[in-house]
């Protein structure tokens, strides 16, 4: 059983989806990450949401631009390691001035036990900024909903590429076990 406190701590996982839905996001593209599992599941269960599993994150950048040209708002969910895969494709967003919402769950930060995650995790935020995105970082679960809302406003009203970074400290570091 979840304690009241841990259920409060985990409410943001559903809130990500609720905020996207409330803002008329019609397509959700993703490469799965444990931190996005709830949002992905809710997207899959929603008959009005087009959910797209990608083979690599950069597809999501191009897909979002196409969706926008067709009149759909979209969001791309990925882990920090996937940001590195997107770099050249992000030139599409800057050159075409199409809106974009990335929701990035961090690895390679606070308490990371897998050293392979650290190189990309330690440059993810700077990389997104260098590529010209407006970047908001969330370190506390209370801030997820309104930060994502602010980012959506910047993207779809302000017409900018935008990323929300969900810190590993908030998500909780993945336990490395013998089976993982």
């Amino acid at each position: 059983m979840e304690t009241n406190q841990s259920s409060q701590r985990n409410a943001w996982r559903r809130e990500v989806y609720d905020v996207l839905k409330r803002n008329d996001i019609r397509q959700i593209a993703y490469v799965p990450d444990a931190g996005h599992a709830t949002a992905i599941q809710l997207a899959q269960e929603d008959p009005d949401m087009i959910e797209i599993s990608l083979t690599t994150e950069e597809e999501g950048i191009a897909l979002a631009a196409g969706a926008w040209l067709g009149g759909h708002r979209s969001a791309v969910l990925m882990q920090s390691s996937g940001v590195g895969n997107c770099i050249n494709m992000l030139s599409l967003v800057k050159e075409c001035q199409t809106p974009l919402i990335l929701v990035v769950t961090m690895r390679g930060e606070f308490g990371e036990q897998n050293g392979w995650q650290i190189p990309m995790g330690s440059v993810t935020e700077q990389m997104l900024k260098l590529c010209g995105l407006v970047v908001y970082r969330v370190d506390h679960h209370d801030d997820v909903g309104h930060t994502l809302q602010a980012a959506i406003n910047v993207a779809y009203e302000g017409g900018r590429g935008t990323a929300v970074i969900l810190s590993q400290k908030m998500i909780g570091a993945k336990e490395v076990t013998k089976n993982a």
Binding site: L69, H72, C96
Partner: protein, 198 residues
């Protein structure tokens, strides 16, 4: 080996209503713009590997509209994973035409993988686009054209084209932002008065 301009002309003109077209960087852009510029064309001059995914996002948003992605073999090799993503979603209005000259024309004519052992139609089929065509002559092009006109399922065609560079280059609107605003404006007007556009 086919003539790339002729293949593009036949496919683009085949439907009663002009499809929305996304072109990859390089010659596919010039092959399409050679037929006349149109606000329903979106030309990529970068973002290599993204043309199919961009076409997919649009096709999912506008399921009633036929969408054609025209890509080079270099572009398609870079975005092969997107063929699996297309197959996953099975968009019935999306077709992909690859003009395969087996080389990187823009960078000095270096051979691509398709000059050797890679068959992109087989890749597309293996990814799950069951209507995939390997086109090497007029007869095979006609077979694809019949299927393309009928529509109703995602389609992939890889046409082997002669490696000679296209005769003339018509440089279309290049700015991504200008194309974005022009495209959206045209789509809005088109949705309001569908009969005016053709």
């Amino acid at each position: 080996m086919l003539d790339r301009r002729e293949v593009v002309r036949k496919v683009v003109m085949a439907l009663p209503e002009r499809p929305t077209i996304f072109t990859s960087l390089g010659n596919p852009t010039f092959d399409v713009s050679h037929l006349g510029d149109h606000p329903g064309n979106f030309y990529l001059f970068g973002a290599m590997g993204g043309a199919v995914a961009m076409g997919l996002g649009f096709a999912l948003a506008q399921p009633q509209r036929r969408v054609l992605v025209v890509a080079g073999d270099g572009e398609m090799l870079m975005g092969m994973g997107s063929l699996a993503t297309v197959a996953l979603k099975q968009p019935t209005n999306l077709s992909i035409l690859v003009l395969d000259n087996e080389l990187y024309r823009e960078t000095g004519g270096q051979a691509t993988h398709t000059a050797h052992h890679t068959n992109l139609a087989a890749v597309a089929k293996g990814c799950g686009i069951s209507s995939s065509y390997d086109i090497r002559d007029d007869g095979e092009l006609e077979n694809f054209m019949a299927r393309f006109k009928a529509g109703g399922e995602p389609m992939f065609a890889c046409a082997k084209v002669r490696p000679d560079p296209a005769a003339s280059v018509t440089m279309p609107l290049r700015s991504g932002a200008a194309q974005h605003f022009r495209f959206i404006d045209a789509l809005k007007r088109c949705s309001r008065e569908p009969e005016v556009q053709q």
